[in-house]
Each structure stands twice: as C-alpha cells, then as structure tokens.
C-alpha cells in the first residue's frame, strides 16, 4: 500500500511539531489561537488547530513552556505561552540534531550517498 501525503505528514509531525512551536515562541510569548493560526495556515504542520493544545499541555508539563494570563486590547484576557530555559535548551538540542538529520536525508534522497 502506498503512503498518502496525509499519512506521511502524520508520521513526520510526530517528534518535530513541538519543536516548531518552541521555535515560534522564541520570537516572544503568544496565545494559543495566534500560534494555531500562524503555524497551521498551510495545513502542513497542523492538520487541525485543536491539536496544538495537547501539544502545549504536554510541553508545559515537561517544563518547556509556561503560561500566564495577559489582558487583551480586544476581548477577554488570554493565556500567553512563553519559553522556559529548559524549552530553549530543548530547542537548541533539537536544532543541532535536526540539521544533521535533514542533511543526511536530503543526501539520501538526492542519491549523493
């Protein structure tokens, strides 16, 4: 059975998506809906906006992100997520590994190895 684009994306998202969220939060604190809309706009990283929240809950439990309420200029207060020191360290570790992994995969796919 041939893999579909959806099934391939589902597999690729596992283990990488949380680091995309960490990388997004590196630019500054953000609330859930904003993260979901920015990262999920092309349906590549997120199949649906709702899958962001379990991810954030898990990362909060791991101590990689923290959350706090902030007043909003339009609407009710919102829960903002921000990186912790552990989150920054986790992102750095992933980035180094990812670059090596990505280069190796690219080489394999292009037949260089």
């Amino acid at each position: 059975m041939l893999p579909t684009a959806d099934s391939l994306l589902t597999q690729l998202r596992k283990g990488t998506l949380e680091y995309c969220v960490l990388a997004y939060l590196r630019r500054g604190p953000a609330y859930g809906l904003k993260i979901a809309q920015d990262l999920g706009q092309d349906d590549v990283l997120f199949a649906s906006e709702g899958t962001l929240y379990p991810l954030l809950a898990r990362m909060r439990k791991q101590g990689w992100v923290q959350s706090g309420w902030q007043e909003s200029t339009a609407g009710p207060p919102r829960r903002y997520y921000s990186l912790t020191d552990d989150g920054v360290a986790a992102l750095e570790a992933f980035t180094q590994t990812w670059h090596a992994f990505r280069d190796r995969v690219d080489s394999a796919l292009e037949g260089d190895s």
Partner: protein, 186 residues
C-alpha cells in the same frame, strides 16, 4: 479574526457545547493537569472565535470554527501520539501498583508474627503471604486477589497483636505476683 469582544460562555451554541462535552469525555483518562490545560485552552480558543462572530446563529460560521479545530478524537489523540495515535487503542486504566506490594508485606509480617502469636492466626498469615507473593511474582492484574490477601494478612496481624498483648499482660501479672513471694519467702 482574532479581534474578539468579550464572550459569555453561557451563550455558546449547542453544537459547540456538545463538542466541548465530547472532548471532556474523551480526555477522561488523561493526566488531570493536561486534561485541565487542554480543556481550558480549547474553550478559550472557541470563545475567542465565537466572540468575533457577528451572529452566533450563523451555523456555517460556527461549523467552520469546529471544523478548523478538528474532531475531538483527533485533538485527544495529539495528547499522546504514540499511545493514542489510533482512536481504537484501548485506554490504559490506572493501576494501583501498591496493593500487591502492601498485601505481600502484610502477609510476610503476619507470618513473622506466628512466632509470638497464637497458632490460630497461622492459616490467615500463611494464605495472605502466599497469595501476595505469588500474585506479585506473576504480576496478576486483578487486584481483588490482593485485597483478599490484604484482609487475611490484616486479620493475622490483628490476631498476632492481640495475642502478643495478652501474653505481655499475663507476663506482667505473673511478675507482679512473683515479686512479693520472693521478698517474703525466706
């Protein structure tokens, strides 16, 4: 889209309330802190989106919000991609690992008490120890057996304690009775 006004949760459309109810039910077995986080975050997401609508009776707009959130089972599956990747995967129930250990310890303690207790408690103690030990070694999942061992072990321990207490009291009386005799007996 996100320039929402304050939204009263009690005005959520029925279809949204049903969605949130299903999400809550599907998160039943999740870690309490994670469940609470996910529910609060999804409610906030929905309320901000609903607050931006001109008309809450616009069924198509409300359906679009839920559609972009994704089915509740998909949201829950994202909580643990490995365990919950397939919705059909049975949810692991919480195991009380302490029960076999306590049952075995209780049985072992009551067996050791046979040395100082009336022989009446020996059957309880031996059965409790045997059941607890075998169940622990063979990793029985059915805790009812361990509860039986725990009860028997407790009976053994209680019997041993009563026996020990009786022996000590009797011993005290014997000593009290004997001391005056020794003093007055030439």
């Amino acid at each position: 889209m996100t320039s929402a006004t304050s939204f009263d949760p009690s005005t959520r459309p029925a279809v949204v309330t049903a969605y949130l109810g299903e999400l809550e039910a599907r998160l039943e077995s999740a870690d309490p802190a994670e469940r609470s986080d996910v529910l609060a975050a999804v409610r906030e997401h929905v309320d901000v989106r609903l607050g931006a609508l001109d008309d809450l009776d616009d069924g198509a707009a409300v359906a679009e919000i839920l559609d972009e959130l994704g089915p509740a089972e998909v949201v829950v599956a994202a909580l643990d991609p490995v365990r919950l990747a397939a919705p059909d995967v049975p949810v692991r129930t919480r195991r009380r690992r302490w029960i076999p250990v306590v049952a075995s310890l209780c049985g072992a303690l009551s067996v050791s008490m046979i040395l100082v207790a009336p022989i009446d408690v020996a059957p309880f103690a031996l059965v409790a120890f045997g059941v607890g030990l075998v169940g622990t070694l063979r990793r029985y999942r059915d805790h009812s057996l361990f509860v039986v061992a725990l009860v028997l072990g407790s009976i053994g321990l209680f019997g041993a304690a009563v026996g020990l207490s009786t022996n000590v009291n009797v011993g005290d009386e014997i000593i009290r009775d004997e001391v005056p005799h020794q003093l007055t007996d030439p």
